[in-house]
């Protein structure tokens, strides 16, 4: 018995060590091969500068869109019970299991020049493929399910009695949403948003299919790294290190920003009814 238990402990520790090492090693390898000086030097490279700007800009816009359109949808799916609700939830989650290349094809088939909405957009003089808007759409498409899924769970976790209490205390549905549902779901929304952000910043497949890889227009950092990889491995490595640092910093600040709780209010005006 004692021997068996000892053996089990050894196995668990060994498996954990392998798993940890496997996750840490590639990232450690990048930073071991890239001196900090090189990392900063990359920022002066015009290709890297352009790619960083495109990445940040498209990801930021995509996140705003995800929050603005995804939050109401998640709230609706969490708070209403209706026929076909589970079908809708599955549809929302579907892009998660779609290979990014297929997602790119889908976007082309929908918004491309010969796509479903292509001619409609054309009459308004809009052409989406291979523009920066296409990058934003690709990022939003692949990243939004991560946020919406988490947001549904977060809204569902809010005690329905609290919502009912708000209503019986004279608050309408809008005030109840902003004073009760939203603040109480905040932690879950922040976690979902952080996930969507991380997925969006690393987006590659759908973007290259739908938006291409033009420096300064649609070439995001992951696309630039892929192109650089064919030319100079060390330089690609340095760009990779930069992406890791930028992602980590942004992820951390998003988490802090969205889960930030207002400090204890003592003045009644801070919670004054809006009516």
């Amino acid at each position: 018995m004692g021997v068996r238990r000892g053996l089990l402990a050894v196995l668990v520790v060994a498996a954990s060590t392998v798993a940890l090492a496997f996750l840490v090693l590639p990232m450690a390898a990048i930073f071991l091969r890239v001196p900090p000086g090189d990392l900063l030097h990359e920022l002066t490279n015009p290709v890297v500068k352009d790619a960083l700007v495109v990445s940040l800009k498209t990801t930021a816009i995509a996140q705003v869109l995800i929050l603005l359109f995804g939050t109401p949808l998640a709230y609706l799916l969490a708070s209403r019970r209706f026929r076909g609700r589970s079908v809708l939830v599955t549809i929302v989650e579907l892009p998660l299991v779609l290979p990014p290349a297929v997602a790119g094809l889908g976007l082309l088939a929908a918004f491309g020049r010969v796509g479903l909405l292509g001619s409609t957009l054309d009459t308004f003089g809009i052409s989406l493929p291979f523009t920066q808007t296409a990058v934003t759409l690709a990022v939003a498409f692949v990243a939004s399910p991560l946020y919406i899924r988490q947001a549904i769970a977060a809204f569902e976790a809010v005690d329905p009695d609290l919502v009912a209490a708000s209503r019986t205390l004279g608050a309408g549905p809008v005030r109840t949403f902003f004073r009760v549902n939203l603040p109480l779901a905040r932690g879950g929304l922040a976690a979902g948003e952080a996930l969507a952000f991380a997925r969006g910043l690393g987006e590659f497949g759908a973007t290259i299919m739908f938006a291409g890889s033009f420096q300064g227009v649609t070439q995001t950092l992951p696309l630039a790294i892929y192109e650089q990889f064919a030319i100079d491995f060390d330089s690609a490595l340095a760009m990779g290190a930069l992406l890791v640092v930028v992602s980590a910093a942004l992820l951390l600040s998003i988490k802090l920003l969205l889960s930030w709780q207002p400090s204890r209010q003592t003045s009644s005006s801070a919670y004054a009814p809006s009516t």
């Binding site: 019986t168 205390l169 004279g170 003592t266 009644s268």
Partner: protein
């Protein structure tokens, strides 16, 4: 005072809830869990939408299915206190109260003795404190009717007695039509002057506590509403037992501690009935005239002085119990519970606390006290 009238039909998962009720003072609905009690409050508050019916506060119609009137909860002047209080965990006590209405916040914090907790968050409060915050918040909205869902069930037995006493006094002071639902008959009797027994979505009987104990409509009401509640004054401790002088002058003993004005709670099936004085010092004895004899199935409820006893049909026949005769009721000190009663504010001889009704013979029960009527 305003009158809340509710008459509706709501389809629940396994049965239909049908209820017709008028609330002018304090009415308690009592029944086992799953009887549909909370749904009654949800319908009145506008949180549930019945298939048919009407809910109105005086001539202010909140719901009339026939007329397609449905006011949302925020358009009804209700103060609903949830079973678990439903305080907003992300707001301070002050913000919780102010959520219902800003004008009277300080006054309410003061009145409910929670001013010192104004900046605390609900998770930091005790059960009794949470209830006071929930009440203050409900009243901040200036409701026309107060609804309490199991107001005492979230509390542990230790704090429950004190909070019940407090709640009694508050309800009397509010001067609002109040509907309380509870699964605990003792709580119902302590808080309300009219009690309705609700089982499986149907109101079985509505009446004063005295009526329910002495003249139950059916066996369920009889078994559920059991307890006698006699009003008395604790005299001190004797031999480890609390000595209580009842209003009719008799002295009884209880194993429960108590002081001041107390309610003596005895279940009818714990009371034995005899014709002659059996000399047993361990027994509490109450002598009196037989005020009523009511047959329920194979059992008989006999009202002796202030007390109702339940005996078998056979022993009732053997003892030849009939109205106008005299008998001696006896019950053990161990089967005698004591509950605190608010001394001040409970007018003796009126229906206010319910307890007084029980302390009087059934025929003297003031009929107008049944302010909530069955329709």
């Amino acid at each position: 005072m305003a009158t809340l009238s509710a008459d509706f039909e709501l389809r629940l998962r396994s049965f239909d809830l049908r209820l017709a009720l008028e609330v002018e003072r304090t009415v308690a609905l009592v029944g086992p869990s799953g009887a549909g009690k909370s749904s009654v409050l949800r319908v009145i508050a506008g949180l549930a939408r019945p298939e048919a019916g009407r809910v109105a506060l005086d001539d202010e119609v909140w719901l009339d299915v026939g007329d397609s009137v449905f006011r949302t909860p925020d358009e009804r002047r209700v103060g609903l206190v949830f079973q678990e209080y439903a305080l907003f965990p992300h707001m301070s006590v002050r913000a919780n109260v102010a959520y219902g209405g800003k004008e009277r916040v300080d006054e309410l914090l003061e009145r409910f003795r929670i001013s010192h907790l104004a900046d605390a968050r609900p998770p930091e409060l005790s059960g009794g404190e949470r209830q006071r915050v929930a009440l203050a918040r409900a009243l901040a909205r200036n409701p026309g009717v107060l609804l309490l869902d199991e107001p005492l069930s979230a509390l542990d037995t230790h704090t429950k007695h004190g909070v019940r006493l407090e709640l009694q006094e508050l309800l009397q002071a509010f001067d609002l039509p109040t509907l309380v639902v509870t699964h605990d008959y003792e709580d119902a009797v302590a808080l309300a002057d009219t009690v309705g027994v609700i089982v499986h979505g149907a109101l079985r009987q509505l009446g004063t506590p005295g009526e329910l104990v002495s003249q139950p409509n059916d066996p369920f009401v009889a078994s559920f509403t059991g307890a006698n509640l006699l009003r008395g004054h604790a005299l001190g401790v004797d031999n480890g037992l609390t000595k209580v002088r009842l209003e009719n002058g008799e002295v009884v003993y209880s194993i429960d501690p108590g002081e001041g004005e107390v309610g003596v709670v005895v279940y009818p099936w714990d009371v034995s009935v005899g014709r002659i004085h059996a000399d047993d010092s361990a027994m509490n004895l109450v002598r009196g005239e037989i005020a009523s004899v009511v047959h329920i199935g194979n059992r008989v409820r006999v009202r002796i002085g202030p007390l109702t006893a339940e005996v078998t049909e056979a022993s009732s026949a053997r003892l030849e119990l009939e109205r106008g005769g005299s008998a001696i009721a006896s019950f053990k000190a161990t089967g005698t519970r004591l509950v605190p009663l608010s001394g001040a504010g409970v007018p003796t001889g009126s229906a206010a606390a319910g307890a007084d009704l029980l302390a009087q013979p059934a025929p003297l029960e003031p009929e107008p006290a049944a302010r909530a009527r069955r329709r």
